[in-house]
Symmetry: D2
Subunit: 347 residues, 4 copies
């Protein structure tokens, strides 16, 4: 039984960490912080916790934090996570950071895409990139994990086998992806007002300006050994949880859907949370909602020489808090699946 | 580890039993039937099960059933459940029937409200009514459980403390309740077409004709020791899972919201799955969706001498499959909460 | 062709006035104000207006207002409307106020339920209550209309025939009503966040504290000639537009559904916007969404001596902006239906 | 005032024709057929029509049809429309066919993609393709219109200016498009069950097998004068009405977003129903829902040399029935906008 702390626990990813860890058999949540809501019960913000989670948010305090927990999840916004990560690492605590602050080895890339200065460049490149299926061995040896972004999780898992096998052109990839409204965070905004969002689809950061682009290109590049260049369009759709990605790749050579599925099944044969669907079946947001699974389906379009790969994850689980727990399981020596076995909700 | 069978496993309550039991630590699903889909994989009907549940539906066969499992969940429609229950009971198997077929001690009540003849009146009155919080001791001693209806579960839990304490007039109760679309079953229909159902509310069986009325009146009557008479209107709202009940009761005497909440908290103090909310907080469908919890909130309207009690459950979990598993836990001597601890999904 | 102004045009009811009046054949919108958004295009807030409505919001200015328009719609929040109404009336302009500021003849009732002082008690009782079907003749002769609240519109239309014919007990009425999220206004809030609101139902102001209660009781009382007392529970459901009311009334005498429908059909025979549905058919939110219609259905529950009346309106149209235009049509001598004939959207 | 008939009026596009034509000032609906529902009221299928449309469905009969109407909308499924079109044309009636039966000049293309034999190849190539903005002059002179498919309407309008100006490579176009559930038709199915469809996204006919592909390629090819080849993926999203298309095109030369918007604005300057949005603003499904408008937005991705064009229409209006009425207006000499001016619903 280990004690864990959640820093920045009032947002959706923080609340999802609490929800999932509440039933994790090897973990006790001993410390949850949210400066803005210090003193308030978690259940006052999230009514599903009444009678279940009796914790109150505290104001973050390093000395108290160190005493209370061994492993910390940082669920703070980009730019704020970097304020607490160094201190916790310096206190020899295990840190899993869900923000984008430590995903890049280079300061200039971070500052260009996140449009803010990085205060701790000395830590860049120190974190293991926490995409468990791709980076499992490095993660196991690390005390500092940079948890992947939601879009990168969905799209990298979808194309890794293609890049590894050099089946597609590395500079002709298009990622068209839909996030659920929880991806926009708990703060109320015009975009997430029910009346703006329900039965709607909209788009944002069109034309290659989303900060997840360099993360995808970097990680895909590492795998392929070549420079990857992709066009990415994020959309907002009317579901609470999910990332649905449709990825268009140009084939280097003719290959059938069946052959590709064989490659995928083989690639992911030991990865419990990645499910490659049979030919003619495609992922659905609802099939993975509430779960840590990633579904992948694909189809070759022979007329145009492209392969279309589709993936679905729950942005709050496999795209954030679930994957963070999967990382915790790895670095703490637990079964990778512990606390994460819930099957996606259908209906 | 016990082996369980699910008879009629292709519908929503059947699929939910599979989903929940997949992660129950003391149970192995060894037999799932669906005559219509015999030979097909469960995952072919419900894509969340790809790579998770490898079972195929079988055609029901008593001899095979008896060999394969000790405990049976009957998730067949009303009128069909009564065809298999007697045989399984006769083979000394434990039976939890989710249909309405064995909820009444009297043939004529069943036949009047369900509008079909009862083929096994000799078994009427033999089943324990499986509302665990109200009937726990009887359930523990029984091998034959009649699992409550979804509407009765939500409304009975909401008013039991009032009836027990004789605070309200037993013949002046109004239950206004909303079901999610899964309550209408998996079969496609005009009513459950997305275009008919989303962003909509509609009503059905208005004017006191729903078959859950006698079930509510009977069970409430048992608790109060007086004849209960209620007006009930069921509505269909745009959510997949949930029963949201607003119940209007006429107070026999003046009493405050605070006093009533004290009575409720005391009444349910040992019931993990019933959560009485603090004053000013009311249940929400989303707070319990995907979980076995029942939330209850209430408020006295002094101007009109009524108390308004609101309850929320997930119709597929506490209103059906989750409660069935809670019953199984009781009759098998497991911890009542086993396999049912998932916290409701927010957001 | 008359010129109309909309004061407080940036909220949902303001935007709906613009949307509907854009195609009104006898009206030109000449002035729209929103102090907070002064200088911005209407289309910058509501993208459906790009290329259709080229107006910009202005800061309210009485002198400019007087010059620009003859008829004014006040779509300001309660407590703010009373700041501009007197000046516009004083300038001999026709005023249709959508707020609650002038719905009561008595200062103390307003101040008790709206919890704020009334600055212009001298104007109380001067406005005609703008429920066209009930008050048409008074409206036609008036220059100052107080447009009804959304909940009162739905519930008063539903029970008027019963009260008029003295069929029900005036002090035993329960109104259980669901509003769509647009009823909470355009401002983003936790309650209207898509993730809080979709596939959910919640309740607020339970126990008789909603400010629409005295409005309903007053208007129903006027019609029945007796004091009316009702229990009212408002809920928030997952649809953008609509008020869905289920009303429970205790019958004074036995009467059939058919007889009641006859009374309703006769009562509303000249009211184009009220549609009494045949026996066994009940209103749906979607059937009236986007339209100025009110659907009414009912059923007698003989077992309990109650009649259940259900009504559905679009809260932004018949419950606000559409009814305001209906009032404008009446006071300007236009056909009552002008600009309001759109049929509700199905699917 | 002309009399119009709707053949196959019980489906969603038929009902939408009735809904829109009910308020068309120059039209009387005199004949609606639906063999399956002959004798039933329109309002029995679509409750928004109670008290508004008193028509009953009839069984199609050529002799009666000819007597009753001058203009016919054919809202029958593909493969069935071809059974009635020849007879109506032969009787010198004006025909607007909403099916795909007469969209191709060549029999083999139809039979390959629609997978059924064509019974009237002699009529292929005779209909004017009813995409009004592109083909207005031909339509005006024709008595036989083949109304475009929903996906082609959204995507062709989005790329025509690019093809006309030879700005993009004609053989490197990707169309990623989402349809609302009404696109799947009124018949209940697993896919359109609320529980399968809400808060979900799924995909179908992935890999280049959708029958709208040759229609897009043919019409785009006509405009560009070159062979067009595109990859198309259709998805089903959780909204009732809408087609949301994101289109990826490879630029032949460097060009800015601003320059492209200028070209688009100029191209569509006389087309009331096409709205080109300003830089940084992108279409939304809700902005056009319930209306005949098509919104277009675009952005250049300089890093990857692509332009991303996004368009939104209501599949039942501009994508079917509204465009059919726009065609009727053109061939009957009415104002093109008549009966189609409703602004999209927000919120």
């Amino acid at each position: 039984m280990i004690n864990v702390g959640i820093i920045g626990a009032s947002g959706y990813t923080g609340a999802e960490l609490i929800r999932l860890l509440t039933n994790h058999p090897k973990v006790k949540i001993s410390y949850v912080t949210a400066n803005k809501y210090a003193g308030q019960k978690v259940s006052a913000l999230y009514s599903n916790f009444y009678g279940i989670c009796n914790l109150s948010f505290e104001k973050f305090d390093l000395d108290i934090a160190k005493k209370k927990a061994e492993v910390f999840f940082i669920a703070l916004p980009h730019g704020t996570a970097m304020d607490v990560v160094p201190e916790l690492l310096g206190s020899s605590r295990k840190v899993i950071d869900l923000s984008g602050d430590f995903r890049f080895p280079k300061k200039d890339v971070y500052e260009k895409w996140y449009k803010m200065p990085h205060k701790h460049p000395e830590l860049l490149g120190k974190a293991a990139y926490g995409l468990c299926e791709i980076n499992r061995e490095k993660i196991k040896k690390s005390n500092f994990i940079s948890n992947p972004g939601c879009y990168p999780t969905g799209s990298i898992l979808a194309v890794v086998p293609l890049l590894k096998e050099e089946i597609i052109f590395e500079d002709d990839i298009i990622v068209d992806a839909f996030t659920g409204a929880s991806g926009a965070g708990r703060s109320a905004s015009k975009e997430t007002h029910y009346c703006s969002c329900d039965e709607n689809v909209s788009s944002y950061k069109v034309g290659g300006t989303h900060q997840h682009i360099p993360e995808m290109e970097k990680e895909m590049g590492k795998i392929s050994g070549k420079e990857v260049k992709l066009t990415f369009t994020p959309h907002l759709a009317s579901f609470s949880r999910g990332i649905y990605s449709t990825i268009y790749c140009k084939l280097k050579k003719s290959i059938s859907t069946e052959e590709l599925l064989k490659i995928y099944n083989n690639f992911y044969k030991d990865d419990y949370f990645v499910k490659v669907l049979p030919k003619g079946v495609y992922p659905e947001v609802k099939s993975v909602a509430g779960s840590n699974f990633c579904q992948i389906g694909l189809e070759v379009d022979e007329r145009t020489g492209r392969v279309i790969v589709i993936s679905a994850i729950d942005n709050l689980v496999k795209g954030a808090s679930g994957q963070a727990i999967q990382n915790m399981n790895l670095i703490c020596g637990f079964d990778e699946k512990e606390g994460l076995k819930t099957v996606g909700l259908i209906p």
